[in-house]
């Protein structure tokens, strides 16, 4: 507003100077009075035109909203807005991650022989409209049921004694196979339901 008023005052000063010089050019005749009147009207028009425009602008409230803040103020407001957006995005991603972890844990728990599941994922924000985030990695820490070993060891294979040495290799192989099977199940479920690359799913069985 001050800038607009300053501009009007500057223009008025220039116009008055201009017309003063013009009056010096007028011929000394009976026509001088006529010309002076018209030059006076010209001054009035040139002064009133910007004032009228200025007053008309006042009536529109929205025009003030766009005119008032200077560039620096607008930049500050925009920066604050960006901070709020970033904070909200961070909160949303955190909430999304927590819920996905809960869902994954619940789904993995449905697989037989699993006792406890702890899941941790990392989510990368996406710029796509409507998108929240893309799952980068999924880590699982699993404990199997205590009775799992006895379940599939109901009929243990009798140890074969070779060269007088007692070997327990068959039991450990079976357990490893069972763990591998569980890992494959978990990987399949998570990869299919949550569209995660199988290579980024890491499972640790305790």
């Amino acid at each position: 507003m001050i800038e607009a008023l300053g501009e009007i005052v500057r223009n008025v000063a220039i116009i008055v100077l201009l017309t003063s010089f013009m009056e010096m050019l007028l011929p000394n005749s009976s026509l001088q009075r006529f010309i002076k009147v018209i030059v006076g009207l010209f001054i009035m028009v040139t002064i009133l035109n910007p004032i009228l425009t200025f007053l008309k602008q006042d009536m529109v409230i929205s025009s003030w909203q766009f005119n008032l803040p200077s560039k620096e103020e607008m930049d500050t407001v925009l920066a604050q807005g960006q901070e709020v957006i970033d904070f909200q995005q961070h909160q949303i991603i955190g909430e999304y991650q927590a819920r996905l972890e809960q869902q994954m844990e619940a789904m993995v728990k449905l697989i037989p022989d699993i006792n406890t599941v702890k899941c941790q994922i990392s989510v990368e924000p996406v710029d796509k409209i409507g998108g929240i985030g893309k799952i980068n990695t999924a880590d699982f820490w699993i404990t199997l049921r205590d009775d799992i070993h006895t379940d599939f060891l109901v009929e243990p294979v009798k140890p074969i004694i070779i060269d007088g040495k007692n070997s327990n290799a068959s039991v450990s192989t079976v357990i490893e196979e069972k763990q591998l099977e569980i890992k494959e199940k978990i990987t399949g479920v998570i990869a299919n339901y949550f569209n995660v690359d199988k290579n980024f799913i890491k499972i640790t069985i305790n």
Binding site: L18, P27, S29, L31, F42, T46, L48
Partner: protein, 128 residues
């Protein structure tokens, strides 16, 4: 110095004018006309530079160039009418000089009509 040349020329013309007025009056009028035209032509370049300065100032002040051109035209009409009426008065035809001034006033008023209309419109807009 340009002014010295013009004054010298004016004085010379005045001498010839006085001589011719007594002997051949019709030539004295033509001499006056020729001198007026000569001065006008000599000053033309200066007037152009003055008008250019005015235009630059007006552009800086965001003045509508239509109004400024109108003012320039009015000043031009006033000068031309002044020259004409003075020559007529010198020739002893005051009535013709009066008619020239009358025509100039009317033309000035006609040119001033857009400015008067603009003033009236602004007043009407300002009054609620």
């Amino acid at each position: 110095m340009e002014i010295i040349r013009i004054v010298a020329l004016g004085l010379l013309t005045m001498v010839f004018y006085v001589i011719l007025k007594e002997r051949k009056e019709e030539f004295s009028i033509q001499l006056g006309l020729a001198f007026a035209a000569l001065v006008f032509i000599l000053m033309m370049g200066k007037i152009e530079s003055i008008l250019q300065v005015f235009e630059d100032l007006a552009l800086q002040a965001n003045v509508n160039m239509f109004y400024l051109n109108t003012i320039f035209k009015i000043i031009g009409i006033a000068y031309i009418a002044e020259f004409g009426s003075q020559i007529c008065k010198d020739a002893g035809s005051s009535s013709i000089a009066g008619k020239i001034e009358f025509a100039a006033k009317i033309l000035i008023m006609v040119l001033a009509i857009p400015i008067i209309v603009a003033i009236l419109e602004i007043i009407v807009k300002l009054i609620p």
